[in-house]
Amino acid sequence: MEFSYEIKDSYAEVKANGRLNMVSAPKLREFVTDVIAGGSSRIVVNLENTAFMDSSGLGALIGCLKAARQAGGDLRIAAVQPQVKMVLELTSMDRVLTSYASAEEAFSHD
């Protein structure tokens, strides 16, 4: 799994490409922690190219959300693919991790 990020006007967009599983989950945590440490606590994780997420991957997203909130910001997810959406719905985590159609939309209303 590969990560990249880009600072936009009002948020940082983190792109996660690949399978979000036990191997890549700690790397996502680390990556987002660094982005937050760099001063961006409003984060959109773009999951357009993440076709699969397991429970460890979900755990990483939750951890990143907590870290962003603790830093006074928020973490939102965008372009969620079917399997990831399914995991979020089954676990009721879609109530906590808000998803948006695109990264641009995630922070466009606040």
């Binding site: 429970s55 755990g59 939750i62 079917p82 089954l90 676990t91 009721s92």
Partner: protein, 359 residues
Amino acid sequence: MIEDDPDIRGLLVHVLAKQGFEVTQAGAGLPGIEEVRRARPDLVTLDLNLPDLDGLEVCRLLREFSDAFIVMLTARTDELDKLAGLDNGADDYISKPFSPKELQSRINALFRRRQSRPVDSAVANDLERATEVQQSLLPKEDVRVDGYDLAGAFRPSRNVGGDFYDWYRSPDGLHLTFADAMGKGMGAALIAATVRAVMRSTSRREDLDGAFTAASTAIATDLDSSSSFVTLFHARLDAASGTVNYVDAGHGLALHVQAGGTVRRLPSGGPPVGAWAGSTWPQSTLTLAPGDALVVVSDGVLDVFDSVEAFTEAVLLATHGQKSARAASDAILSLAPADTAEDDVTAVVVRRLRDQAVA
């Protein structure tokens, strides 16, 4: 050191002795094999060009009884030999002429690799113990509830996925716990063990809401330090009426399979325990009519399907019309092929018997 050229042999002995090895030597293949058998070395340097046997053949013969590192030395530098050398069980290959420095660093690299082997075995050991922990969590004996047929099936994955189920008699019928801890290995197995113990400890509390709140608080406190979570389905069956009160924390894969061949999936009532502070989980109720079944399945089975709908349909087909709960739970497990499943697969079937004698 198996080497026919006395000059090179002298050089090798010198270099290796300087590196701290105790060195013995042979000038040809057969005496070399004898020497390896006798001295049981950690490292063999082997010339490919020997007077009696081909070096590759010597290498193959050595591999039949020795797991020493084998470094092949040769003046034949073409690629084919290199591959052949490695396929014959050699660990490295150095072409002549070589510098003593190169030889030393290659050998050091081999021994560094060996030192990292205990890490692999520690991982294997961890998984082995995790498997034991996980197995120990499963119900030891069958539970019987009059008017019901119960079965649970569990197949661990190589990685130990953190699944378990537990059930026991209650004054009114049955308590059932079905959980899947995040992650894999010993960490997941220990969380599962905690969850099982905590759920059992609250079994005497009569109100399900109170029991679940107490249990989830205790579990979440435990999980906080590991930033982990557990999906948890807990149900209480009143056998006489068929009423099932349940709480679903992030599981979402429990199904009410009705006698008529319809199915309803029970959506989860809130996030997994430990996932999000301040979560609450509403209690829900369903009634098992004669012939109905409560079927709880782990996400290891879901992984095989493209959608929850396809999964639900497949579980219905696997369950409906089966002679026994055992046959149904086995059929559900076989939906996830053993050779490709990456996660544990678990299924519990609680079926209310059709031809129940009326008291």
